[in-house]
Symmetry: C2
Subunit: 346 residues, 2 copies
């Protein structure tokens, strides 16, 4: 079997906005396995805002993943099938999600820093391993449940409510009995979708005055704010903290292309509100991943939760799929389907 | 018995710094008790930074206590003995701490907003009810234990380490087995006292470069920072958060006399550290007061904790005692002894 590995590499480091010239397509051959190695075939690849930062010179201060040099395959998690294995822990036919990179095959020693997680057989679409049953789901579950400490009856605010993580948080909040769940998203289509997932009210940040809508929908403020956006939306929302409110900083997509990260000018009002501002990194919660996955799978089976996926078809679309993310075109978790053929259940 | 009530009232609203002309001394007679009332005799009065804000016009945005008008008795907690009681819950000889105000007697209906707490008999100095066994102790215990979530082995940083709350937090941290406890205070005397209470290292903010000392004493950063000071010390310290660190904002004495509250310019680094910035108001923790008091009393009895009290003698010294607080002259919890005679055990 003579396999051709298709790859996307860094052609040039982006300074601010990502454009086509930053990406380079190449093909290489797949090396022969040696003892301890596994041959992975990519089925789906993840598209995430942070990828732009990996591509920037010096990783733009992000130390968690090694920063990319010119010519290196772009970082990224994906779902892969084990095609061959010389590794005792992996069998042919297993599915894993982890650090594959932007390529169609990977020969791996499955080292810890690649953070591979073996998928459990649940007879659900295998690509859920990049949404509700993978890092996206772990982020939503651990960030909201462990950092946000929501209680039944709480008022919850979610920004990026039609995004991969936000759309799950909306549904988790309703599943656990939060009284009022308000989302923020851009445009009528996203707002309608978030309403269909259970949001009680939606604010369209492209059209509405955010603060007057918050005043209308939650006059007493929120108990938990799960923020995926940062910037001006974070600042406006901080004016609506109830006493003891929890604000989870999960993402800041509005800030990623700014040269300097903004500081909400009202952030110190957490003093008088006894509120909490909570940084969140999903890898601080590895001990909760298995619980998160089982809970999410349970809600999916009970029809309480449905992953919102924005599927892009074809490995050649990788750069386009990432570039579009910053202009807010995706609805739900953006994933690229790399393999041909119908949806695989696993 | 014809009792004369000595009182301090607001003569003028302060704009920034407190000076003598803002205070007025007066005497009045004590009214006769009616059904449901208690006559309280003040033994000790509390001196706290927040009092300046009560005295400012409109309470300087502080809504928790009603703001003071010209001519009104200044707010403040104290310890009092029940001299007479027409109230079923209080007996002659009971001691309470609560909202007495700057006066030597109070006739009270013991309403909820006065937040009176009956003291337990422990055969300890009665004035501990304004330090370790009252609000100061509740703030230290609930703020540090519940908000800060310290674990044995943690590295802990405490600013205002020779103040009322800070000196207790230092001792609690050692009592529960925190590995390294570093304090920040102003001047060699305060630093020496905090060391004698158990601090492993002290930083003198008047002399030392805070960041280079932090680098020396905690190269890996802190797990918990209990901040009583705010301002520049808060900002410097935020550069030393470990991943997952907790920063408890208990007080901001350095900020109280500034026209605009400063915002630490590095505060958003809580994102990349998955850290928590935690506002703290002791009245959010009333359900933990009894536990706090019992724990503190236990540590006192076991010689693990000793309240650090800065006792000022005489009711006439009230304005002076408060004005001096902002220039950092006190070591430990500042209390004014109102009664004559020796220390009372209760």
């Amino acid at each position: 079997m003579d396999l051709i590995n298709r790859q996307w590499t860094v052609a040039e480091h982006p300074i601010s906005e990502l454009v086509e010239k930053h990406f380079k397509y190449q093909e290489s051959s797949v090396s022969k396995l040696v003892e301890g190695e596994v041959l992975l075939k990519t089925h789906y690849l993840n598209i995430a805002p942070v990828m732009r930062m990996y591509m920037m010179k010096g990783g733009a201060g992000i130390s968690r993943e090694k920063h990319l040099k010119i010519g290196e395959v772009i970082h990224g998690r994906g779902i892969a099938e084990v095609l061959e294995s010389f590794h005792p822990d992996y069998q042919v036919g297993d599915f894993v999600h982890g650090q594959i990179g932007w390529q169609t095959y990977k020969v791996s020693q499955m080292k810890q820093e690649e953070r591979f997680i073996k998928m459990k057989k649940r007879n659900l679409p295998v690509h859920y391993g990049l949404s509700a049953l993978g890092m996206t789901g772990y982020s939503a579950y651990c960030g909201f449940m462990d950092r946000g400490q929501p209680h039944a009856g709480d008022t919850v605010l979610v920004s990026g409510a039609a995004g991969g993580v936000g759309s799950l948080v909306i549904q988790i909040a309703k599943a656990i009995g939060c009284k009022k769940v308000v989302g923020i998203a851009g445009g009528p289509e996203k707002c309608a979708i978030a309403m269909s997932l259970g949001a009680d009210d939606m604010i369209d940040y492209k059209k509405d005055d955010i603060e007057s809508k918050l005043d209308e929908y939650m006059p007493e403020g929120f108990d938990v704010f799960f923020d995926n956006v940062g910037g001006a939306i974070l600042e406006s929302s901080l004016n609506f903290m109830k006493r003891g409110a929890r604000v989870v900083l999960c993402g800041g997509i509005s800030e990623y292309t700014l040269p300097v990260r903004p500081i909400p000018q009202n952030i110190m009002s957490i003093r008088s509100k006894a509120a909490s501002i909570l940084g969140f990194l999903v890898y601080n919660h590895t001990h909760q991943f298995s619980e998160a996955e089982d809970k999410m799978a349970g809600w999916i089976t009970d029809n309480k939760l449905s992953p919102l996926v924005d599927m892009v078809d074809g490995f050649d679309k990788m750069p386009e799929a990432l570039m579009g993310l910053y202009s807010g075109t995706n609805i739900g978790k953006r994933i690229v389907k790399v393999i041909d053929g119908p949806e695989v259940l696993y």
